[in-house]
Symmetry: C2
Subunit: 135 residues, 2 copies
């Protein structure tokens, strides 16, 4: 269980963030709900409301291609640049990194198009080093 990280989390927010931190990987909202039934959670909305805030605080990231959520890998949870995720399709492990140079190029494109960027999703699917078959 992680403690005392960022803004004052409410009880529900702390429980959800704790579940994600403990899991060490992505969880769906309904998986979180099941984990927290013993703590009194009864409905999906309790999870989604907490997740909305945690994402807003930058403590949790949403993985669009998995419909799942993952705790930010930066322990301090201080905000950081746009995150990208490499998702292994064999073992499910997710690696977070901050592709600043690539983002800079993407922002060049948005500027040239007059597109005001608010949020970026970058997700790589493939096979991690551990799961690559040596044959």
């Amino acid at each position: 269980m992680s403690v005392e990280t960022h803004p004052d989390l409410t009880k529900n927010q702390a429980l959800v963030f704790g579940s994600l931190s403990d899991a060490g990987g992505p969880l769906t909202a309904y998986a979180i709900l099941d984990l927290l039934r013993d703590s009194g959670f009864r409905a999906p909305l309790q999870v989604y409301r907490a997740l909305d805030k945690l994402v807003e605080y930058g403590m949790v990231h949403r993985l669009e291609s998995l419909n799942a959520f993952v705790a930010c890998s930066h322990k301090g949870c201080s905000s950081h640049g746009t995150a990208a995720f490499a998702i292994c399709e064999k073992c499910g492990v997710v690696s977070e990194f901050t592709p600043d140079k690539a983002m800079s190029l993407l922002r060049d494109w948005t500027k040239s198009e007059g597109f005001q960027l608010s949020r970026t999703t970058i997700e790589l699917r493939g096979t991690c080093r551990q799961c690559a078959v040596p044959n």
Copy 2:
């Protein structure tokens, strides 16, 4: 996909691709289903099966952050590099582009990590030039 031209589409695939082309923007699978009820479509699976093939052929792209699908903007539908999408949150317009330089940097990261990349999602959310308020 190799050098061959578009495979012959089945009737259902052609109907689904036609819907997406006519729409000129993203549609959800269920929106396509509703559009095609008069053509005999009755169940989501008919749409999803056609979409799977069209995505495989590179003629349609899936937008993960919208749970929607869009016809490839390259009229010839010949295969191209990894596509990125800028999605206006005000008017819903989607612009497809191929950020080759940014992809090259992302591939540098995957190589350094021994991650075998199979598929990449890049989606930018924000406000398009048309919708930007001058104020």
